[in-house]
């Protein structure tokens, strides 16, 4: 009986995808599944800066169980750019105008909301968001050895995630984000983690999109803070679009 159990264990160990082990390690080194399970809502306050161009504004992000999220970036000279979901309707309201997200864009936005951060879907919603995770190999990033994973979302194009071999932390993601302006390749780099309520959380990130580089720096991150439901209510323009059945 003991032998059978041992064989089973070996079998499981061999069968486990090496990418899964890397993803599980990320969960462990950043706080552990139990710590994440306690998180029901997140508030992140900070800034977004368009690097080198003298543009810097306030950024706020709120996440809540049930796929609810609201992000607002207020850039001087441009105004508020908003993005949100009440758990059913996924939308954004930018300079281009109000819009409902559908299809792949809606799916990926919902996944990102569940992953607590803005740097991509990450490993936190692996089962919900991805159909496949593969270890591609090892590379060097900023002088450190990293594992390169190819993650295939259930909808949308595969992305690459890079995990530090030594620390186990996610350091970079390459992804293709669908948007009204087409498919936008984004390289998201985590510049800084900070331990907040037992969870090592990315608090400084740089997103590169072509010639534009945007730095997000969160000075305040709170878990399970009281986030009112009204935060996720649909703005009147979005309600009008829903009513009109317009995409």
């Amino acid at each position: 009986m003991r032998t059978l159990l041992w064989l089973c264990a070996v079998s499981v160990s061999f069968a486990q995808n090496p990418a899964d082990k890397i993803l599980e390690r990320y969960l462990e080194v950043t706080g552990g599944k139990a710590a994440y399970d306690k998180v029901k809502s997140v508030s992140m306050l900070g800034t977004m800066e368009i690097k080198g161009q003298g543009v810097k504004g306030e950024m706020r992000m709120y996440r809540k169980d049930g796929g609810k999220y609201y992000t607002v970036v207020d850039l001087p000279g441009i105004g508020k750019q908003e993005d949100g979901s009440d758990g059913l309707t996924v939308w954004d309201k930018t300079v281009l105008g109000p819009r409902l997200k559908t299809g792949v864009e809606k799916f990926l936005a919902t996944c990102a909301a569940g992953a607590l951060s803005e740097y991509g879907r990450g490993p936190l919603e692996k089962d919900n968001c991805y159909s496949k995770a593969e270890l591609v190999g090892e590379e060097t990033f900023e002088g450190r050895t990293v594992y390169k994973l190819r993650m295939t979302p259930k909808e949308g194009k595969p992305e690459e995630q890079y995990y530090d071999k030594e620390t186990g932390l996610l350091v970079k993601t390459r992804m293709i984000m669908p948007s009204p302006m087409g498919e936008v390749p984004i390289v998201a780099v985590v510049n800084e983690y900070r331990v907040i309520e037992g969870i090592k959380t990315p608090v400084k990130l740089t997103n590169e999109m072509g010639a534009v580089s945007m730095v997000m720096n969160f000075t305040s991150v709170k878990f399970n803070d009281s986030v009112p439901e009204t935060m996720f209510a649909l703005p009147p323009e979005i309600q009008a679009l829903v009513k009109a059945g317009k995409k």
């Binding site: 368009i50 080198g52 161009q53 003298g54 543009v55 001087p76 000279g77 441009i78 105004g79 930018t94 300079v95 281009l96 105008g97 109000p98 819009r99 009204p180 302006m181 087409g182 936008v184 390749p185 999109m209 072509g210 010639a211 534009v212 009008a240 679009l241 009109a244 317009k246 995409k247």
Partner: protein
């Protein structure tokens, strides 16, 4: 995009910071020009790589920052494209041309039949009339000669040069010498408006963004919205929306982009959204290195479905060309006026190590029908220009042509 506030700089001796500045400019172009092949074979011969050492040596030998700036400007001019510029504070003591403060006095001038005349007035501005010929500002004669080869962008440069000469600093009083129809000379003293609270973007700050909405036509049933720069997004876009809603029953709508040098590019998409009804429409595509972005237009609820006219001239550039050219390709607007500047490249502005500002193009713009507008511009569907006689009669012929077209096309315009 651009009127630029320069950084604090005066005649610093060339030192390692200047070489760092040179390297930043050279590398930025090498890394971020959207088409590396263009850099391998520049219009005037040679490659971007071949310029590196000779210009670096010149910068190393430069006596001061002003000289460095001149050398860098010469180098980036070899690229042969718009939207490459180095900006810094410079004294032009030996120039006979008046340097204004950037604040418009409330009227606009243009070169019409070889004379500098008033071609436009801000709303409620009554001290000056259309068609008056301007001879001097604060005793300095108006100059119209520009030292550039005859190109499409000559119109843009001339326009900017003229508006600069008549401009002043906020709150400053200036005297203007006019010749009125009939030959009567008149001196008018005007106080420059204070800052109107317009917000800039990034390093483009300190400008009053003129915008105007009116109902024109014999029955005041043609909407007219003029914008002299695509900035102050937070106020202009809601004002544009308000204009559209006010004009729900108008016979037509006119967007006046004459003299508009561009600005925040996505404002073009946002404004176009009020005139299309189907999703998936775009004004064109922006090709960056490794990234192609569509100038997508998101249809707005309760948009305007009637005839749309867009007024442009040789000083309409960049975002103006994207909006006019895009709507023309979509067959959603009829374009009136003169061919645009052909300076249509999306660009960004960054600070250099020595404090100067460097504007550089990051993408090529190709309209929906596949036209590259850079160096070519948007050709109006109907070319119509000011005449001195019409201006003296207080008539703006391009606006009249657009109004007449609206009345002649009462049916609902093609909408995609």
């Amino acid at each position: 995009m651009i009127r630029i506030l320069a950084a604090l700089l005066v005649s610093l001796a060339a030192h390692p910071q200047q070489l760092e500045t040179f390297d930043a400019v050279w590398k930025t172009v090498a890394d971020k020009h959207w088409n590396p092949k263009h850099l391998e074979s520049l219009p005037g011969g040679g490659s971007w790589e071949s310029l590196r050492e000779p210009y670096r040596q010149r910068v190393q030998a430069a006596a001061n920052q002003s000289e460095v700036r001149t050398i860098l400007r010469e180098m980036i001019s070899k690229i042969g494209k718009s939207h490459y510029a180095i900006a810094g504070l410079e004294m032009k003591g030996n120039s006979a041309m008046r340097q204004g403060g950037g604040t418009s006095p409330g009227f606009r001038v243009g070169l019409v039949e070889g004379r500098v005349v008033v071609t436009g007035l801000n709303p409620k501005f009554t001290q000056v009339a259309l068609g008056w010929e301007l001879k001097a500002v604060d005793g300095t004669p108006i100059l119209t000669k520009i030292e550039v080869a005859e190109t499409l962008q000559t119109g843009l440069r001339l326009h900017q040069m003229l508006q600069n000469q008549i401009s002043g600093f906020a709150g400053e009083s200036l005297s203007y010498d006019f010749v009125l129809p009939g030959g009567l000379k008149k001196k008018v003293t005007l106080k420059m408006p204070e800052r109107d609270g317009s917000s800039g973007f990034g390093f483009v700050q300190g400008v009053n963004v003129q915008r105007e909405f009116a109902l024109l036509g014999k029955n005041k049933d043609v909407g007219y919205f003029r914008l002299d720069m695509f900035l102050d997004v937070v106020r202009v876009l809601p004002q544009f929306e308000q204009a559209i809603q006010t004009c729900a029953k108008c016979k037509g709508f006119i967007i006046d982009l004459r003299g508009n040098p561009g600005g925040v590019a996505v404002m073009a998409n946002a404004m176009a959204g009020w005139f299309v009804k189907d999703a998936g429409v775009k004004l064109g595509t922006m090709y960056q290195r490794g990234v192609d972005l569509d100038f997508a237009v998101i249809p707005r609820l309760n948009g305007f479905g009637g005839p749309l006219a867009v007024l442009v001239d040789s000083a309409s550039a960049s975002t103006s060309e994207i909006l006019a050219g895009g709507l023309q390709d979509l067959k959603r607007a009829c374009i009136f006026g003169a061919r645009t500047a052909g300076a249509a490249l999306p660009s960004v502005i960054e600070t250099l190590p020595n404090g100067d500002l460097f504007q550089f193009a990051v993408a090529n713009y190709v309209s929906e029908s596949g036209r590259e507008l850079e160096g070519v511009g948007v050709k109006p569907d109907l070319e119509v220009a000011h005449t001195r006689a019409a201006l003296r009669a207080q008539r703006d012929l391009p606006i009249e042509a657009a109004i007449n077209w609206v009345y002649a096309n009462p049916s609902v315009a093609l909408r995609r």
